[in-house]
């Protein structure tokens, strides 16, 4: 379905171009997103840096200490 409404005159190349609506934009981005997830698969699968979980443990310990004191 083609729409010629809201041509963006400020766009660098305003030929017969029509801006995508929100639904079209999401649909086209979903396709890109799938490919990007494949591209970043290694990042998700590799172990996270050691200090990341340690920082969360610290936060947990701190919270536990605070709870003890408040009791």
């Amino acid at each position: 379905m083609m729409t010629d409404r809201d041509n963006d005159e400020n766009a660098p190349n305003a030929r017969s171009k029509s801006s995508p609506n929100a639904g079209e934009a999401k649909q086209r981005q979903r396709v890109l997103g799938e490919r990007l997830r494949e591209m970043f698969e290694d990042v998700v699968n590799e172990p996270i840096p050691d200090d990341f979980l340690k920082l969360l443990e610290q936060a947990d310990e701190k919270a536990a200490n605070t709870d003890d004191k408040s009791e």
Partner: protein, 264 residues
């Protein structure tokens, strides 16, 4: 539940998001680390009314946006590098986030809006703006190989509506090769069965012998490509086609093709 149990499982995905957002694992990790340090120091708390994952990304967002200017284009060095990660970084920050949070991280619009602390309306506008940026960036010149005039005009209209130029419409293998030589396209859309009995597959093979270009086949005979031709195209669309499918395929082919030509 502890923070380790609540947030730990989401950290690999937050690292992915931070990497895509900043363009490098090292700087991405630095922001993730800063967010976790803020939690450990008690200066930031995870607001988990929409679940721990939204809360974690939201906190990351606060840290990241306080450290970057609204006009920042990530680690982009200003070159027009065609690799997909550089393309992502050329999207302005807020639109870039809306795109990555929904399309890559899989958040709903409501969740992404909560992460970014904007309304859903604003989020939808950012997503449209991101799409406009992506398509402006990918604008190129397209060779259409198609022997049926009505379909050729349909495809031409569709291609132009995305901001591309059409270099030529070729109806035969010979015409296609001649057209590609006289004006090198940044994308080829090819039918398979052509007017004079020649093949769009052969035309594309001839063109690819001379230079690298992304190709999308649009054909009523998809099986001809699937049964043992030497080409193995990533993009194959069956006729009759849905315009949205063709547009999505064009976006994907250009976004991920290493040498897609950019028309300045």
């Amino acid at each position: 539940m502890s923070l380790v149990e609540d947030l730990g499982p989401h950290l690999p995905y937050l690292r992915r998001y931070a990497r895509a957002l900043t363009g490098a694992q090292k700087s991405g990790d630095a922001y993730v680390r800063a967010a976790l340090e803020a939690i450990a120091a008690g200066s930031q708390a995870v607001e988990s009314s929409m679940g721990p994952r939204v809360g974690l990304y939201r906190l990351f967002h606060v840290i990241w946006s306080s450290a970057t200017s609204p006009n920042d284009r990530g680690d982009d060095d200003g070159s027009q590098s065609p690799d997909p990660e550089a393309r992502i970084r050329r999207i302005p920050p807020l639109s870039r986030q809306s795109f990555l949070l929904t399309a890559v991280e899989g958040f709903s619009n409501a969740e992404a809006a909560a992460v970014m602390d904007v309304s859903e309306d604003e989020l939808a506008k950012l997503i449209v703006a991101a799409q406009r940026e992506i398509e402006d960036e990918l604008a190129t010149e397209v060779l259409i190989i198609e022997d049926e005039p009505i379909i050729a005009v349909d495809i031409e209209h569709l291609v132009k509506s995305m901001g591309h130029d059409v270099t030529a419409i070729a109806a035969t293998r010979t015409e296609a090769v001649t057209a590609a030589r006289s004006r090198r396209p940044g994308l080829v859309l090819a039918d398979i069965q052509l007017a004079d009995g020649s093949s769009g597959i052969d035309a594309v093979a001839d063109i690819l012998d001379e230079f690298d270009v992304p190709v999308i086949f649009i054909t009523a005979y998809p099986e001809r490509l699937l049964t043992g031709e030497r080409l193995e195209p990533a993009f194959l669309i069956s006729k009759p086609f849905l315009p949205d499918m063709v547009k999505a395929a064009i976006g994907q082919a250009l976004f991920f093709h290493p040498r897609a030509a950019h028309v300045a």
